[in-house]
Amino acid sequence: MNGSPSLGARLLRKKPIEMLVGDTAGEDAGHGHLRRGITPFQLTMFGVGSTIGTGIFFVLAQTVPTAGPAVIISFIIAGIVAGLTALCYAEMASMIPVSGSSYSYAYATLGEGVAYFVASCLILEYGISASAVAVGWSGYLNKVIEIVFGHGLPAALLSAPLVADGYSLAFGGDGIINLPAVILVFMCCLLLIRGSKESAKANAIMVLIKMGVLAMFVLIAVTGFSASNLQPFAPFGFTGISSAAGTIFFTYVGLDAVSTAGEEVENPKRNLPLAIIAALIIVTSLYVLVAVTALGVQPAGEFAGQEAGLATILQNLTGHDWPALVLAAGAVISVFSVTLVVLYGQTRILFAMARDGMLPELFDRVNPRTMSPVACTIVVAIFVGAIAAFVPDAILWDLTSMGTLVAFIVVSTGVMILRRTRPDMQRGFRVPFYPVLPILSIVACCWLIFNLNPTVFKLFGVWLVFAAIFYFAYSARNSRLEKKAAAAAAARS
């Protein structure tokens, strides 16, 4: 094509910030936008609400075999890294107050190529984590059914036909489909299509349920605490600890809910880091308490492959069903809301991409009846549902961590680049201890990534190749900026 921009120009072109802001302006843009005014307390609850539930209910079964009781340290490490990245994220969000998560920030500052790359990572962070959470949910649902009706669902309907044998995928096992996970994804899909959204109030209720059941777990489990279970503390040494920390990182996904509120919260310079740190402290302490008490009750060797782990531990400890039932029911309710939040994020990121011409028009078509992006929601639900149905969760968790960590590295790098290239731009919030903090964040993320299982690198590589093929075959040509460039070229000649 004549006059079309070169590959380099395409990869580096940036979306003007005015264009980004225009995309998300409200109906009364001209008449002074009414601020919502999220309070710091609400913001903290958003962070806690969207973070707890993504993993603490299931992740112990996965990580205790890798790290032993030292998994407690892994939780703290992952928490610190999540905090560092969340602060960088907050600076970026306060500088470019638009929706669409790190994809939009990258598009405005680092160019289309990086933005597209970040978006492919975000699909792992949101889409794959939705699948992983749905798989975990099905374990707890089955626990509830088991306690109430005396026997659970048939195993063939509870687990994926693929099994992870040391992280390489193979057919086998007795599973056919993970049916509850599919049902969960489609229930959330229906809600999103109808346009009903979780509100700040609903979130507050969910936070109470989650913290309540976890507190209950800690209080009951502490009665059976035996320090001998914590010996040997770190059977696999530091390698085990850091490898588990990489997986655990995914349980902190959702902290971005705080970071993206830069425009909405009053006095972001003070309240944003306050809320991030408060949420982080609450979440990390709960995680550590749960991990410590769980390990104090049950020998480390028994965690592997335990579905609905926390509920089972309570059942074994007390000899009664009801504590396990309460916990499992709490998990079923709250994980539902987390899945809804994550799926919502995924649909809106794809929507933003389609608006920029990076994805086919189908993804940003709004249904006239519900005034919501129905087609996009259905496509997301089908993919997330299919993955939840057929792929085991062990791989999903690590893939999610991978995508999230990579996206966070880009954001942290972006903060540093922008401090150099756009020092004049107004920032609602600035990262403290610059440049130490962003560098530390990048280093920590890289370190966690290199501790992930090698198979995940392969899968991640395959995924990126797919994404790149799609980019060059479709997105680069159909980008909204491409049309603008063509129009400009036509005007010049």
Binding site: E27, S101, S199, V341, R348, P368
Partner: protein, 297 residues
């Protein structure tokens, strides 16, 4: 055009009649004002209880229609009838067929907020099966004595079946000799809390819907005949009420909405969005029967 006003001797009936008069006056149409009475048992009974009841009803109808007659005066040609029927809905439909009415005019339930419409038991049954367009007067509707119908705004949803509604509204405008305005409602959805993608994500969806609707309006306007003159608009707001307030409404304006594609062909059937429009509109509404997709082509 012949308008059938479902009249009752209360405020709702007066408002319906006021709307009927305005419509008939605007395009030289005529009115049939009809009161529906419960059926009585036609056979002789002990102590003539039923006959007494029948006499009472007759007198009631006469009084009601006298009131209506006084309200209409000599402004428009009008006919006054009463009819006994098992239900108000059946009575209205039968009368509409007898007098070959082109439109049924009804009033609002008293529970509505002033200036808005709320369907009562009769209107709601009519709104789910009427064979002709149904015009609805909001609560407290009182047009000035010289008010004329000046414009019809058609609610356009940009869905495929909505094209037929626009064409039907355009034909109506030709008969009524008024211009047509299209409007699409952009009701900004609630934002999800918490959200990892920012707290303005729903505006992104709404803005896309807005541009999608504008494109669809442009497309449909290009296919319409030159008469009536058509303008386009977008009603944008956080709620339906706010969306209505975002565009100007003339004195003597009406909003036309189509029937849901779930309903039977050639019948009125209020869909969920149409119901919201009807309840929030600051002007009288006219609900058009559903026209098939074939007609849309």
């Amino acid at each position: 055009m012949r308008y059938l006003v479902g009249y009752s001797a209360d405020q709702g009936g007066r408002e319906a009649l006021a709307l009927g008069i305005l419509l008939a006056r605007s395009n030289g149409g005529d009115l049939v004002v009809c009161t529906i009475l419960p059926e009585t048992w036609g056979h002789p009974s002990m102590a003539r209880v039923d006959a007494e009841y029948a006499t009472f009803l007759e007198q009631h109808a006469k009084k009601a229609l006298d009131k209506a007659r006084a309200q209409v005066g000599k402004r428009v040609p009008a006919e006054f009838v009463s009819r006994s029927a098992p239900s108000a809905r059946e009575g209205l439909f039968a009368t509409a067929e007898d007098v070959s009415a082109d439109c049924i005019v009804l009033g609002s339930a008293r529970a509505a907020r002033a200036g808005s419409f709320l369907e009562g038991s009769v209107t709601s049954s009519v709104l789910y099966s009427a064979p002709v367009p149904v015009a609805l007067a909001p609560r407290g509707y009182a047009p000035g004595p010289r008010t004329q119908l000046r414009r019809v705004t058609c609610a356009f949803s940009a869905a495929p079946e909505s094209g037929a509604t626009v064409r039907a509204a355009a034909r109506l405008c030709v008969v009524l000799k008024v211009p047509l305005r299209l409007t699409t409602f952009v009701v900004r959805d609630q934002q999800m809390y918490p959200s990892g993608v920012g707290y303005h994500a729903e505006n992104m969806v709404s803005n896309q819907w807005r541009s999608q609707a504008m494109a669809a309006q442009k497309k449909i306007i290009a296919t319409l005949p030159p008469k009536p003159p058509v303008t386009s608009s977008i009603s944008d707001g956080k709620t339906w009420k706010a969306a209505f307030n975002s565009i100007p409404w003339k004195d003597g304006e009406m909003i036309a909405v189509g029937s849901s594609s779930l309903g039977p062909l050639l019948r009125v059937f209020l869909g969920s969005n149409a119901a919201k429009i009807v309840r929030n509109a600051p002007v009288p509404c006219i609900v058009l029967p559903r026209h098939g997709a074939a007609e849309a082509e």
